[in-house]
């Protein structure tokens, strides 16, 4: 190939590469750049050395990538300035803003440790979220960078959520990829979409395939410029709306409602007398038959440490009424100490001090004796019947523990339930029928 042809080929290729610049730069400097390359190539042709021609073109190509990046960043900066009509404030103003934002952030951190109203909490969080924007803008004077810093922070939060979701999935013993996938989808992907969309809007405000502006007639160029301006204005509106909506939604997503007094109060619940097992439990207290020593003895018999059939029968004969009352109690839907039914008359923290606490010794003894009966039935091979007795104890224990009464009441209910579960575990080892297992 002749040097002249090769030179022309290089110039054509370079001309195409110039089209990758932003239109303004392409229009203002494209022809001059091409002219300069042609001058370089013409000089190289004079030396009649193909190697020098190639080297000249290679050096021209080498400068393109860095130049493209600089020009597109320059376009982005210009656009964002126009978009927000930014005026560069003085360093003093920005410093004052920074300190105000820092102070608000610190106040937020301090206040968030105590109970604050939702409105104040939300206002403080919004102000705190402005901190990275104000800080970055004060340093860089580039608002778009400030938003991207905020978005980066949100991505970090998103990644943190993913890690936490992974840990939770692991802890649950069944790694659930759906949880992780949802975390990614809900937190990180929208942020990445924001980066991508804003990049597209700022860096490619017109279109990807750029026309050869140098070859356009003045009328065509004018029409193209008008079209570009309309498209650019539309993109700016869309971008502004997108960024505003996006950041707003993310801030709402980050908003963790502050704890209010209402959250600390138990919901008011009044159990009707006919549904309340309180009457039966009161009767159990009056029918208490076991001494302290006997109670310990029953516990030993239930645990299976020692077994005395005769002694067990004796204890059970004495407590038939007690156990029947417990079965009646278990049939009632709920338990509530009537003295604690109207929570509005008590401050939660003062409830234990102000209200008389119901005695539950009789219930405890009736439960132990019912479990003793279960143990006896189990030893005589009636495992299913034994399981049904345990079920009675479990039901009573659960209803007491979830009665929203005083702490001691909850603990007694939990203890009754625990004793029942221990017996049930031993019964299960002996083998239960399918029907009882389902119950």
């Amino acid at each position: 190939m002749k040097l002249r042809d090769q030179s022309e080929q290089y110039a054509r290729l370079f001309s195409r590469l110039i089209r990758l610049y932003p239109p303004r730069h392409q229009r203002e400097y494209g022809p001059a750049m091409l002219q300069l390359l042609r001058d370089q190539l013409a000089d190289a042709e004079q030396l009649n050395d193909q190697h020098i021609l190639k080297e000249t073109f290679f050096y021209a190509l080498l400068g393109l990538p860095g130049s493209w990046v600089k020009e597109y960043l320059s376009v982005g900066r210009t656009d964002i300035k126009q978009l927000f009509d930014l005026r560069r404030p003085s360093w003093t103003v920005m410093s004052v803003w920074f300190f105000i934002a820092t102070a608000l952030y610190l106040i937020f951190l301090w206040r968030s440790t105590s109970v604050v109203s939702q409105t104040v909490g939300l206002a403080l969080e919004l102000l705190a979220a402005l901190l990275p924007i104000v800080f970055t803008f004060s340093v860089t004077r580039r608002l778009v960078l400030s938003f991207w810093v905020l978005a980066t922070g949100l991505i970090v939060v998103g990644i943190d959520n993913i890690i936490m979701a992974g840990i939770q999935a692991r802890a649950m013993g069944s790694p659930d990829s759906t949880i992780v996938a949802w975390s990614v989808a809900s937190s990180v992907l929208p942020l990445l979409a924001m980066y991508a969309l804003t990049s597209v809007f700022y860096l490619f405000p017109t279109r990807f395939r750029r026309p050869d502006l140098a070859s356009m007639s003045p009328a065509e160029l004018n029409a193209y410029q008008q079209q570009t301006q309309r498209r650019r204005a539309r993109n700016k509106r869309l971008t502004l709306a997108f960024i505003t909506a996006f950041i707003g939604l993310n801030l709402l997503g980050l908003y963790d409602p502050a704890v209010s007094q209402a959250d600390l109060s138990l919901p008011s619940r009044v159990v009707a007398p006919e549904d309340n097992m309180h009457t039966e439990l009161e009767r159990l207290n009056q029918e208490t038959t076991l001494t302290g020593v006997e109670e310990t003895e029953v516990q030993r018999l239930i645990s299976g440490e020692t077994w005395n059939d005769e002694r067990a029968r004796d204890l059970l004969d004495r407590s038939g009424q007690l156990r029947s009352t417990l079965i009646l109690a278990s049939a009632k839907p709920a338990f509530q100490d009537p003295s604690l039914a109207d929570l509005s008359s008590y401050q939660t923290a003062q409830a234990a001090a102000a209200a008389p606490i119901m005695r539950l010794n009789g219930v405890r003894q009736a439960s132990l004796l019912t479990l003793l009966e279960a143990e006896q039935l189990s030893r005589s091979g009636q495992v299913d019947q034994a399981a049904r007795r345990v079920q009675t104890v479990l039901i009573v224990g659960r209803k007491i523990s979830s009665s929203q009464g005083a702490l001691i009441t909850h603990l007694v209910g939990t203890a009754i339930e625990g004793e029942g579960l221990a017996v049930l575990k031993r019964l299960a080892a002996k083998g239960l029928s399918e029907a009882v297992r389902e119950i």
Binding site: A32, Q40, Q46, G66, K70
Partner: protein, 109 residues
């Protein structure tokens, strides 16, 4: 402006224009000559830098004309010249460099 942000290419361009007004190719050749081939500016780097220097007011465009010394002498070329602010910046930068050289020499001595 902050001189440290001027950059090698920009400084060489300002130095070449301090002698006389030049067009792009002339600037490029002169920079290569002055730096003994150490600094080679391609069209992309040259015009991106020229654009920045124009925006910062360090150089000015003084119109188009032909250059009879060029092979393609019939073509019109854009000429650039150093502005008053550009001259001040060049002087400052050279002063700063002289100071640096003095300091280094004193250290080495």
């Amino acid at each position: 402006m902050n001189n440290s942000s001027l950059g090698t290419a920009a400084l060489y361009i300002l130095l070449t224009l301090s002698e006389s007004e030049r067009h792009g190719y002339s600037i490029m050749k002169e920079v290569e000559r002055m730096s003994s081939g150490e600094v080679r500016l391609g069209p992309a780097t040259l015009y991106t830098t020229l654009k920045r220097l124009l925006a910062e007011g360090l150089i000015v465009e003084i119109g188009e004309r032909t250059d009879p010394t060029m092979i393609r002498r019939q073509e019109r070329r854009r000429y650039y010249a150093l502005s008053a602010q550009g001259k001040r910046v060049v002087r400052q930068e050279l002063g700063r460099m002289e100071q640096l050289v003095k300091q280094f020499k004193a250290k080495l001595a």
